[in-house]
């Protein structure tokens, strides 16, 4: 076991996993929120764009999107996010993670919006708030609180799905695991080390989100 830790940068690989998760998660929250607002907006075109986004990315395999980003968008269309090949792939991995999970964030939020009684929106409008203001001040704060538990599930799935990025990048945990297995041969120990690494990342998050969903629940 000491060999593995001294010969390979396991913690560094998990650090990349954390970075992928953090930026992917941040992007997913932003994209998902925008998409959710579009999906409940009074404008039909907005609703169409929002639901098209969700349906396209929710129904496409993540592996396929990862491969498409580098093989398709970078090599064929020539769109790069960094000059260095590895950096380019890492940044694409973050973008793909954000775009893919944004669709799930959108649906979690939309189910949260549905937990907000219609009267809240009516009261907001009756006070004279515009659509944007009533979203920001009244609907979304309650929708976020109502969707904390499903949002937690999406973020945990995102952390584990960073392993899919291994098809285009080598730096993160699953990529390193592949290399170790290639050079050292597979063993239960290697599997356990990496599995434990992910549990350490995801379990506190799950506990945090469960307690938050209880603490922040809107009392009616």
């Amino acid at each position: 076991m000491g060999d593995i830790f001294s010969n390979y940068d396991v913690l560094g690989a998990f650090w990349w996993t954390i970075k992928l998760s953090f930026f992917g998660g941040l992007g997913a929250l932003v994209l998902g929120t925008i998409a959710a607002i579009m999906r409940v907006s009074p404008v039909a075109v907005m609703r169409f764009i929002g639901s098209a986004y969700v349906n396209i990315f929710r129904n496409t395999p993540l592996t396929l999107l990862m491969v498409l980003s580098v093989l398709g968008v970078t090599y064929i269309l020539g769109v790069t996010l960094a000059d260095d090949i590895n950096q380019n792939a890492l940044r694409w991995a973050m973008v793909v993670l954000a775009v893919y999970h944004g669709a799930f964030v959108c649906e979690a939020l939309r189910s949260g919006v549905n937990t907000v009684p219609a009267g809240q929106a009516e009261a907001a409008r009756a006070v004279g708030l515009t659509f944007g203001q009533s979203m920001r001040e009244v609907i979304l704060p309650q929708a976020f609180r109502g969707s904390i538990a499903p949002l937690g599930s999406v973020l945990i799935a995102l952390i584990k799905n960073t392993t899919v990025a291994a098809v285009i990048v080598q730096a993160e945990a699953a990529g390193l695991m592949q290399r170790i297995i290639e050079f050292e041969g597979g063993s239960f120990l290697i599997f356990a080390i990496f599995a434990l690494g992910f549990v350490v990342l995801t379990m506190p998050l799950g506990i945090l989100f469960t307690s938050m969903s209880r603490r922040l629940a809107v009392k009616r």
């Binding site: 809240q120 009756a126 006070v127 708030l129 001040e137």
Partner: protein, 246 residues
């Protein structure tokens, strides 16, 4: 009647096959208190909600202070700011404190300073008798208290007219009076009010005019004394016979 503030002309609306508003013509003068009564499903709530366009109408016009109701957008939001609305189910913002409920509109819509908005909010909360609850959340208050906060929230916008959509129908009997007292006070102070209610006592005490609706139409309108003692239409006599015998 004083000069008309709210004018509805030939207003029609359907819910599917149900013709919920039929050729409604109604003028509400400045400072007037109009009570709308009628059996359930007569369209009185829809009428009330149409005045600030929470319900759209299919034909006809509604004007407030001479201005026709605009389409959904910034202009409509501005108009709604001038029209107070009190709902049957209170609809206080559940994630905000009582004080924040009252100051949200003044700060976000009227762009008032927070300190000034809070000072005025406390005065209004005191006026409706819930100043002690300012830092609590809506779910911690009784129904009657919540509805009084909802009235204070509307008043904070200095509305030209206030709409009440069955404000006491969701309340326990012992809480109805505390809300009605506030409403009678408002009426005395000259607020223009449209009140959909089943509280005949309030209509007698505070209304200038009673509008009786049935099947989407305004059947009859008169002063409260005249209407309650000497209704002209059969439909109104029948309705009053049912509710006043107990």
């Amino acid at each position: 009647m004083t000069e008309p503030l709210v004018v509805l002309k030939d207003v029609n609306k359907h819910f599917g096959d149900l013709h919920v508003l039929r050729d409604i013509d109604l003028e509400i003068g400045k400072g007037e208190v109009v009570v709308v009564i009628g059996p359930s499903g007569s369209g009185k709530s829809t009428l009330c909600r149409a005045i600030n366009r929470l319900e759209t109408i299919e034909s006809g016009t509604i004007t407030i202070d001479g201005k026709p109701l605009p389409q959904e957008g910034k202009e409509l939001a501005q108009l709604r700011a001038d029209v107070g609305m009190v709902f049957q189910s209170f609809n206080l913002f559940a994630h905000k404190t009582i004080l924040d409920n009252v100051t949200l509109g003044p700060i976000k819509v009227r762009k008032e300073k927070k300190a000034a908005a809070e000072k005025r909010a406390m005065e209004l909360l005191e006026r409706v008798g819930v100043q002690q609850q300012a830092q609590k959340y809506p779910a911690q208050l009784s129904g009657g208290q919540q509805q009084r906060v909802a009235i204070a929230r509307s008043l904070a916008m200095n509305p030209k007219v206030m709409l009440f959509d069955e404000p006491t129908s969701a309340l326990d009997p012992e809480m109805i009076n505390e809300v009605l007292d506030v409403m009678v006070g408002l009426a005395r102070d000259g607020m223009t009010m449209v009140v959909v209610t089943h509280e005949m006592g309030f209509a007698r005490k505070a209304a200038n005019r009673v509008v009786f609706m049935a099947d989407g139409q305004i059947v009859e309108q008169d002063t409260p004394e005249e209407f309650f003692t000497n209704a002209k239409s059969e439909r109104a006599k029948d309705f009053l016979g049912k509710i006043l015998t107990h």
